[in-house]
């Protein structure tokens, strides 16, 4: 048991923050995200023996989280399409100035408006740090499809940032 715990901690114990962030942006809700991460670790604990390639542990646990989300949590996600719909303020890891905060809030708002097919590969890339090949494997789509979705996701976010910044300056 101790050996299993050590292996578990070494392979995926350090990923809880990244998993929580990924879960949060999937669920758009803090409580659901926490439950999803706990459930993911439980599943991973039970299935640890099935992990054959330890180098793929990160992909493996993100895959578990995505499956658990689809299995148990997706239908519970509240209908949120902007920051105003959230019933709490997102807490940042570091303090920031008002200009930075404005930009970041615009991007967050745009992320919440993104279709899942664009937001998910983007989250896997930015939060998970996965390459396009790894994202393609995770999502079971081609690498070129991933690149197209990432391109469109960033284009939409940049457009929102440009548009909202102009409105902000005009005001």
């Amino acid at each position: 048991m101790k050996q299993k715990e050590r292996k578990f901690d070494a392979l995926i114990g350090h990923l809880s923050d990244d998993l929580y962030r990924f879960a949060f942006w999937l669920c758009k809700n803090d409580a659901l995200a926490k439950d999803l991460v706990q459930e993911t670790y439980l599943r991973a604990w039970r299935a640890l023996d099935s992990l054959k390639n330890e180098k793929a542990a990160k992909s493996w646990i993100f895959m578990i989280l995505r499956r658990e989300f689809a299995r148990l949590f997706e239908r519970k996600v509240p209908p949120i399409s902007s920051l105003d719909d959230l019933d709490f303020d997102i807490e940042d890891t570091k303090p920031m100035g008002p200009d930075d905060k404005l930009e970041i809030d615009i991007v967050r708002d745009a992320i919440l408006k993104l279709d899942k097919k664009y937001s998910e590969p983007l989250m896997l890339q930015v939060v998970g740090g996965f390459s396009c090949e790894e994202i393609a494997q995770q999502l079971n789509i081609t690498k070129s499809a991933v690149m197209t979705q990432l391109f469109r996701a960033r284009t939409k976010l940049q457009a929102a940032l440009t548009r909202e910044s102009k409105i902000g300056k005009a005001l």
């Binding site: 048991m1 962030r21 926490k34 970041i104 991007v107 992320i111 390459s131």
Partner: protein
């Protein structure tokens, strides 16, 4: 790769290792500018995703993980049953009390809010238990028994602790409230389960188990073991 393709690549994956991409980034002024703009955007994007994770996240994962083996699962089911039962028992008892006191109220609410007890399949090390009791300005003497779960929690008047103690007759759920003032002992009994809220040298403790012998044993141990620092 031309400028247009370079910009497309920036929007797909600006951290690519493609040599041609990096050559243009260094040699072409327009590409260099586009790259700098993209890096600024990537910084904003990264910070947008970087939200603070809950302080209790890691603890809750560890606790959930600790429940995962067959024996622990079985024990946990008993513990859950015992905890839920304690809730019902206390609720039943308070039914007869026209105005339940703050301690009874607290115990009911606390257990209703968190009916599931997480347990490790191994007893907690003594030093960890000592530290937890010390944080409550109390100490524990002698052989108290095998504590498989202990966590501090808010209780009337200050911080207390929720515990699961393993005995030869099964798990016993305890809610220790070091700052609570209990005027008189409250005993409950329903079917084969029994529960009590008893006054201690410091505060009070709610005890629940399914066996009279087990409860008496635990109560005696508690009275003899817990004292103020």
């Amino acid at each position: 790769m031309n400028y247009f393709e370079f910009r497309q690549q920036l929007l797909r994956d600006s951290f690519t290792k493609d040599e041609e991409f990096h050559r243009l980034r260094k040699e072409d002024l327009r590409c260099a500018q586009a790259y700098a703009d993209a890096m600024n955007f990537e910084k904003t994007l990264k910070r947008a995703f970087e939200i603070k994770t809950p302080d209790t996240l890691k603890d809750s994962i560890v606790l959930r993980q600790a429940t995962q083996n067959t024996n622990a699962h079985l024990i946990r089911r008993y513990a859950i049953a015992a905890t839920i039962f304690l809730t019902f028992v206390i609720m039943s008892s308070t039914w007869y009390i026209k105005q339940p006191g703050p301690i009874e109220k607290f115990v009911i609410e606390a257990l209703m809010m968190e009916p599931e007890i997480y347990m490790s399949d191994e007893a907690l090390p003594q030093h960890q238990i000592d530290e937890l009791f010390a944080s409550l300005n109390t100490k524990i003497d002698g052989d108290f028994g095998q504590i498989h779960f202990m966590k501090t929690c808010p209780t009337p008047g200050g911080t207390g602790a929720r515990m699961v103690l393993m005995t030869d007759h099964g798990p016993v759920t305890l809610l220790y409230m070091p700052k609570a003032n209990l005027n008189e002992r409250i005993d409950f009994e329903l079917e084969k389960y029994r529960g009590s809220i008893v006054a201690m040298e410091t505060g009070a403790v709610a005890i629940n188990g399914d066996n009279k012998q087990q409860l008496s044993y635990v109560e005696a141990r508690l009275q003899n073991s817990i004292s103020m620092l």
